[in-house]
């Protein structure tokens, strides 16, 4: 009892976190492989149309054609290959948009929350005004101005979502800034910028990690929504949103055209959020 640690149920949390981390990392790893090696691992050409092979069911159902594992859409294109190629767009958007949004939002949030004063006032007003714009309309407007394309989507996501990071990180930074260990750093002679990077940032990092992975999931969904309304990339490359959009028309005759990209989308977003939670627990020395 003397010099004993606090009692809690931490070991239970750790075990659950381990499984969660492996499953989500596994799925996302699979997607990365798909992204990098799509032309080689996709069984068929995603753009090849063959009207005689239209609306073939997935491999376990009657009437399936060997080689078309998840069936074909109304134009005879292989669903599995299209999903694999669609992962490229999804992951590109997730990683690039997520990272840039995080950098912009977290930096501003950290500065506002720690430095306070007029810096905080300016950034907070900016966040408030920015968040007043309806996000969906804002993004559509942006795409209309910038023209469709991968970078337009990325810019749109960054422009709209940085406030999410900024608000949460600001609150965290403020809370940490009130702690005695920050005062202690000042007494030791550390300057403000040094304190922010060395003392505050490590304690805000777990929150940022979770937000980042969450943001990646959101980015995937935003891309899917935009491609659903044909505002995404301009080429004929398949996207999950586009597949879902097209799949609506044949949902009664060929449900698989809609369902498989939808399930893939769902699992991907879920994987991102669980990855964040799992990483945070794993790398947080306080929880180990």
């Amino acid at each position: 009892m003397h010099e004993a640690r606090a009692i809690d149920g931490r070991s239970l949390v750790r075990r659950r976190a381990g499984l969660r981390l492996w499953l989500s990392a596994g799925w996302l790893g699979l997607l990365c492989v798909a992204t990098l090696f799509a032309p080689w691992i996709a069984p068929k050409d995603p753009l090849a149309q063959d009207l005689f092979l239209g609306r073939l069911p997935p491999f376990w159902m009657a009437g399936a054609e060997p080689g078309y594992w998840l069936g074909t859409d109304s134009l005879g294109r292989d669903v599995l290959s299209r999903i694999i190629h669609g992962a490229r767009v999804a992951l590109a958007v997730a990683l690039i948009a997520g990272t840039i949004t995080c950098l912009v939002g977290a930096t501003l949030g950290l500065l506002a929350g720690f430095l306070r004063g007029w810096v905080d006032m300016v950034i907070s007003r900016l966040i408030d005004i920015w968040m007043a714009f309806p996000p969906v309309l804002f993004s559509i407007l942006l795409i209309a101005v910038l023209g469709p394309g991968l970078w337009s989507i990325i810019i749109a996501i960054v422009v709209i979502d940085w406030t999410r990071f900024a608000r949460v990180v600001r609150a965290e930074a403020m809370a940490q800034g009130a702690m005695d260990y920050v005062a202690s750093a000042r007494v030791a002679g550390r300057g403000r910028l040094g304190t922010m990077m060395r003392e505050i940032l490590p304690n805000v990092l777990p929150t940022i990690v979770v937000l980042l992975t969450l943001e990646m999931g959101i980015a995937v969904i935003v891309e899917a929504i935009l491609s659903f309304v044909n505002l995404s990339i301009s080429t004929d490359d398949p996207t999950w949103g586009g597949m879902i959009s097209e799949g609506r028309t044949s949902v009664h005759q060929a449900w698989w055209v809609l369902v498989f990209p939808l399930v893939t989308l769902f699992l991907t977003v879920l994987a991102f959020s669980q990855l964040g939670e799992g990483l945070k627990d794993r790398f947080d020395p306080v929880l180990r």
């Binding site: 009892m1 003397h2 004993a4 009692i7 809690d8 149920g9």
Partner: protein, 289 residues
């Protein structure tokens, strides 16, 4: 017979180490018993076990808690809650977090009486006013309409005390009620608790780490180490001559302003080793027996 009788209560972290090791103690009706020990000794745990508010990660592995003759641990959960609600109350440690910041004071005192105990609104309101007067809060009308953050720590603790006595409980568990208070405010609050306890004839289980406080409020005390009762005696006997080496060491560590050379002696390694050996022997006997 004692109003509260705890017999061989054992409690542990689920699938983990024991937190209470066959604790036994009695509290007679109208009596004040102190639970003393350092942090981690399990004194708060006993109070929580009696009130049925142990955290979900902790389970009871044996023993009885007899409240007015009925074993709480053998009752079905709904009946247990009702019995505890009717007979017991809690004075918590932190007046800051124990009150709901979004509600005014008045409802926080009366809601429990009306919703759970079936009082009429009029009776409950009258009772709230009586209690605030009894705990010497000036301007009770204003206080009843106030929010917690508008009041000082000492005032909030008085309100919590008033709340505890509201339904005339037979047993109150006071969990370090003055630890968060200034020394001058502590004196007022302790005198208040002692006065109300005597007036209402309520039994009191008083959890604290401060031996000075124990000597002012309690008639009996139990000293705990690692979830085990190492001494169980009257306050008079304890301060005259504690029997257990660990209790004596705690007393020696407590500073006294009347004697600058007294106190501040850390518990000696030998004493810690001895009491830890006792705990180990106890655990072994459980495993064997």
């Amino acid at each position: 017979m004692s109003f509260l009788s705890i017999r061989n209560l054992s409690v542990r972290l689920k699938k983990g180490p024991p937190l209470l090791r066959r604790v036994s103690l009695d509290v007679a009706a109208g009596e004040v018993r102190g639970l003393v020990g350092e942090s981690g000794a399990g004194k708060s745990m006993i109070g929580k076990a009696v009130l049925g508010i142990l955290p979900p990660s902790i389970e009871v592995t044996g023993g009885e808690i007899l409240l007015d003759g009925v074993d709480l641990l053998r009752l079905p959960p709904a009946l247990r809650r009702r019995r505890i609600g009717a007979l017991c109350a809690l004075i918590p440690q932190d007046p800051l977090t124990a009150l709901n910041p979004s509600h005014r004071i008045g409802p926080q005192i009366t809601d429990r009486l009306v919703d759970i105990l079936g009082w009429t609104r009029a009776d409950a309101d009258r009772r709230a006013r009586e209690l605030l007067a009894e705990v010497q809060i000036p301007d009770p009308e204003r206080v009843l309409r106030s929010y917690p953050h508008e009041l000082s720590g000492g005032m909030r603790q008085r309100i919590l005390i008033a709340s505890a006595f509201a339904a005339e409980p037979k047993l109150i568990v006071a969990d370090e009620p003055t630890t968060a208070l200034d020394v001058t405010v502590q004196k007022q609050i302790l005198k208040l608790i002692a006065g109300m306890q005597a007036r209402h004839g309520t039994a009191l289980l008083f959890v604290t780490h401060d031996l000075g406080v124990v000597s002012k409020v309690c008639q009996h005390l139990s000293v705990l180490y690692a979830g085990m009762v190492v001494e169980d005696t009257s306050v008079a006997d304890f301060f005259a001559a504690p029997r257990h080496a660990y209790s004596a060491a705690l007393l020696a560590a407590t500073p006294k302003y009347t004697d600058p050379s007294a106190g501040l002696i850390p518990v000696p390694e030998a004493v810690i080793a001895a009491v830890q050996a006792e705990v180990a022997a106890f655990d072994r006997s459980l495993a064997d027996g």
